[in-house]
Subunit: 335 residues, 2 copies
């Protein structure tokens, strides 16, 4: 770090004390017009850039909000971040992002790193943190929001939807459409807890009708269109008699659609495909698949809004949680 111009230098050039310079640069409550101008000019001239390290250390507060998501290559989280950015805009706060790669230990490391910068709030994904992560977050003395999932115990603020319910509702919907022979196609179940919860809910609802999955395929690695295609092709080759497939998400379902098309299977006529998320690109596909829209951008935005509020004043239990319902969209699969 080369030594950059400091406030003292700005003040010297402007011919005032560093306190006046400080006040002027921050938007001046009580500084004379003349001095404000002098300071601003001086600052501009020597290319002064605030040193937030010093500012924050001195003021014992930062404008940082730490955000941890499991992945960036998943559009869903990109949209969550967009929602957060939106909501954070005018607040003067600054988001800092970390990516855990669906790994709880990595997440703990990221949380620790972030807390070392003394953020004034934290947003983390899901409710399944390591014991240590929870301790760190609880001990930080700042508002913490857990997002996306509400199936479990929250530390503080909780905004999201029940994935178990989402799975249940999709099962119920498909049953009501007269489907009865189901397969599941997923991936990376160990890590994506929420996909797992959806599958659980799905199966639970099936068992209420004394049904269970006829087929199931999962694979290592992260969900992707090609993986959905592969696994679906595999099921189709097996000759299993099924009339619907539930996927861990839309990407996988889209892959399934292509596998079905290649195999000459009519979707949704012969085979109904259902995903999760309600991604935009579904609308571009040759067949509009069934899905459940997760209001992810909204989740990001609302969590941020509540977090910002909590930074001002303590919130009641009710104010600290917000549960969304996933909206099922059958696309072209309406019977």
């Amino acid at each position: 770090m080369r030594t950059k111009p400091t406030l003292v230098e700005v003040a010297a050039l402007a011919g005032v004390s560093k306190m006046t310079a400080s006040r002027a640069l921050r938007g001046a409550s009580d500084v004379s017009e003349r001095n404000i101008e002098k300071v601003l000019r001086a600052s501009e001239e020597i290319g002064y850039v605030t040193n937030h390290l010093a500012t924050s250390l001195s003021s014992q507060t930062t404008n940082l909000i730490g955000v941890v998501v499991p992945s960036l290559s998943n559009v869903v989280f990109a949209e969550v971040l967009a929602g957060i950015s939106d909501a954070i805009q005018e607040s003067g706060k600054q988001p800092v992002f970390g990516v855990s790669n669906y790994n709880a230990e990595v997440e703990t490391g990221i949380i620790r790193d972030m807390l070392s910068w003394r953020p004034s709030g934290m947003i983390v994904t899901g409710l399944e943190q390591t014991e240590q992560s929870r301790k760190l977050l609880e001990g930080a003395g700042i508002p913490v929001a857990q997002i996306m999932d509400v199936d479990g115990d929250a530390i503080d603020i909780n905004v999201g939807l029940s994935h178990v319910d989402a799975g249940r509702e999709m099962a119920r919907t498909l049953l009501n459409l007269g489907r009865s022979r189901f397969a599941y196609v997923g991936s990376a179940l160990d890590n994506d807890v929420r996909a797992q919860k959806r599958m659980q809910g799905f199966c639970e609802e099936l068992s209420r009708e004394n049904l269970s999955l006829v087929e199931s395929r999962t694979d290592e690695g992260f969900s992707s269109l090609p993986m959905g295609r592969e696994l679906t092709a595999d099921i189709l080759r097996s000759g299993a008699k099924i009339d619907a497939i539930y996927y861990s998400n839309d990407d996988m379902a889209a892959g399934g659609l292509f596998a079905a098309m290649s195999a000459g299977v009519d979707v949704p006529g012969q085979l109904l495909l259902a995903g999760f998320n309600g991604l935009e690109f579904l609308e571009g596909l040759p067949v509009r698949l069934a899905t459940a829209r997760s209001p992810r951008r909204q989740i990001g935005a609302e969590a941020t809004r509540i977090l910002l509020e909590a930074m001002k004043q303590p919130l009641s239990r009710d104010e600290r949680s917000l549960v969304f319902r996933p909206e099922i969209d059958l696309g072209d699969s309406i019977s």
Copy 2:
């Protein structure tokens, strides 16, 4: 920011001076085993978390590396970030991300904010920054890497590919395949400078054969599959006689494929579709479209590697730039 335990408290509990505690916690060069253990235990006990604000202010150096990309909802940049994360891993550095939404003024603000945290390096996307951004970056006294694009003047480190050339090469390739009546489909041209450069290169190459675009469609907003579908459908409806379409990127091209399928147009037989990026999801599509793979993960990784090196020692002009060639992949479009 509630007052969290400080080093002094750890030291007190461990019964040593804060310097010994400081040394012990940092990985101790010259501290006795016994004291290291005492300090670690004390730290653990009271849940001490380093205050990086103080550390950095005091040591006059941070482990921060600022990264600015235009978008997160574009997988391309998510992958760039992944490459950066990979390369940064063992370095002990910490990336901080900012998103400019393809807006140069917004980018300037982000750069200023980031610099106020005194990062020890910066990575920004593209070569087209505002005058002010350039000044800020040049004045920061730290290594700066501009990535993705090499068509222009770099501030310091430059890693990427020539998008003009990428456009040219695609044109050349399609010409060699015997195509001669071209359309272009793109979006948000004002903001995505690199897509614009590709189109320029494409047209330049066409004009060398005394050809030019037969049709062209662009739309506001960001590229997306649905937008590609719309614009392509529009061209097809117009009845224009074309045998190839060049798209601003793969998402748009995929949308084009669906439009063609709906219209009963044979791809690539009647109509060759070419995109850019070489996204993974292309492999899941019913037809593998033509594209040019951009080594974006590698770009992120290499830029980071060079940046980290530059933080240790001054680099020569040659060492500071790295140019990749996009690899053209014709998919099913081989004549």
